[in-house]
């Protein structure tokens, strides 16, 4: 067997085994994606009811708490980036990091120092490599987040939010995550969690749903303010939880797509290499025949 043919065969084998791996990853991502999507759906009723209750409480009580009032002189802002733990998901993590960079420079322009709270090994690696200060990071659960994880993140950022600015507390909390629209479309979104901006919007939304009816005259226990104060941390937790779930679904969708195109490319490569190998084999045979014929000719004419 000629050297050229051997090289081709070796490359075909290696591409074939790569394709097996990418195909397997594609299948795993598809099955995890379905589960992630189910979790997103299962979390919806709680989110809806919580928003409803918050807007009801906000429309009754005074909404002057720290959670809703914007600070005049903003000094620091917490930026939470939700990225993946593992790569091989196309531009999934880098899109988030890029959006985060945009937010960072926007904040800096406004004279606000961003504090980085990172979720997922990819963003941690990016920040560490550039030797930037990380306020806190969480890793190891981005493909299957639970409420406990969201609670831990929320507790940390809420603690930073509660601290006075002079002592290193933050005035705002921003969240950068990938919103899952459908299998083909995922969008990177930036949302401000605190101070809450959603109350007015949900009030209008809820009013629309209820017709022109205002909220029923709830009897709040202990008081509207106390209920709102207690609900807003829940709201932050829930928002982070939802973002984690959506990000997980997006991650699996992105990985599935990346692995599908990798498998397709491998297939294409195998086909080209097989053609080239066939050509090399044919060339070898032709050469051998002509050598034999040449040799026989030489014998008869001798």
């Amino acid at each position: 067997m000629g050297a050229q043919l051997r090289v081709y065969r070796r490359r075909i084998k290696s591409v074939q085994s790569t394709k097996k791996i990418t195909k397997a990853m594609e299948l795993i991502a598809s099955s995890r994606f379905v589960k992630a999507q189910q979790r997103v759906e299962a979390s919806l009723p709680y989110t809806q009811e919580l928003l409803r209750a918050i807007s009801a409480a906000a429309s009754h009580g005074s909404t002057k708490g720290a959670f809703v009032t914007e600070v005049e002189n903003r000094k620091r802002a917490a930026v939470i980036l939700i990225t993946a733990d593992r790569g091989l998901a196309g531009a999934y993590s880098s899109a988030i990091i890029k959006e985060g960079e945009g937010l960072n420079s926007l904040l800096k322009e406004q004279g606000v120092t961003p504090e980085h709270f990172l979720v997922g090994r990819k963003s941690v690696g990016y920040y560490k490599f550039r030797e930037r200060k990380i306020a806190q990071s969480w890793t190891g659960f981005t493909d299957q987040p639970t409420y406990e994880h969201a609670k831990a993140i929320a507790a940390t950022v809420l603690e930073a939010f509660d601290k006075p600015t002079a002592e290193g507390g933050v005035d705002e909390i921003h969240l950068v995550y990938t919103h899952f629209v459908n299998m083909a479309v995922q969008q990177v979104r930036v949302r401000r969690i605190l101070p809450v901006e959603i109350i007015e919007a949900t009030k209008e939304e809820a009013a629309e749903k209820l017709g022109s009816k205002v909220f029923p005259l709830y009897d709040f226990e202990p008081s509207p303010e106390a209920v709102l104060e207690a609900l807003i941390p829940r709201y932050v937790e829930n928002m982070i939880y939802t973002a984690l779930l959506l990000a997980a679904a997006s991650e699996h969708a992105a990985r599935r797509r990346a692995m599908k195109s990798a498998s397709d490319n491998a297939e294409e490569l195998i086909r080209t290499l097989a053609r080239q190998a066939n050509q090399a084999r044919q060339a070898e045979i032709t050469q051998e025949i002509s050598e034999i014929v040449g040799g026989a000719d030489a014998l008869t004419s001798a």
């Binding site: 709680y46 639970t146 409420y147 609670k151 029923p216 709830y218 009897d219 609900l231």
Partner: protein, 134 residues
């Protein structure tokens, strides 16, 4: 007779949905009983057992941690971080967890919270097996 339509929702799933005659829950101010026609109320819940008397079938006890209840026009929504049906609670395991949490002492707030959670679970589980719930 009017009835309550009740939904008990935890963060990651819906726990119990159905029609009920009455509900008893624990708020920071004491126990609250909700019957059809109750005035709209939005109240926080302390960790404890929520008891529901459905239109038909046996009474339901649910262990609820960190939640609130919203009631208007005979619709009751109970939201909680963690909500477990008493029938889903493994009583021996819950009791073991309670013993463990108690043994851990009362030094850290986490240990106290864990003990409290375990106690609520045990209470919910035992109230379901007991003949009469009140």
């Amino acid at each position: 007779m009017s009835e309550l339509s009740v939904s008990v929702v935890a963060v990651d799933r819906s726990v119990w949905v159905g029609q009920a005659k009455s509900i008893v829950a624990k708020t920071p101010e004491g126990e609250i009983g909700i019957l059809p026609g109750h005035e709209p109320v939005l109240s926080l819940l302390v960790n404890g057992v929520v008891r529901i008397e459905p239109i038909d079938g046996a009474k339901v006890a649910i262990a609820v941690h960190g939640g609130f209840v919203a009631m208007d026009t005979n619709e009751v929504r109970i939201l909680a971080e963690v909500a477990e049906l008493a029938s889903d609670i493994d009583l021996p395991r819950a009791e073991a967890a309670l013993a463990r949490a108690k043994a851990a002492g009362e030094e850290s707030p986490e240990a106290v919270a864990a003990a409290h959670r375990a106690e609520t679970r045990v209470k919910a589980a035992t109230s379901n097996t007991a003949a009469g719930i009140h």
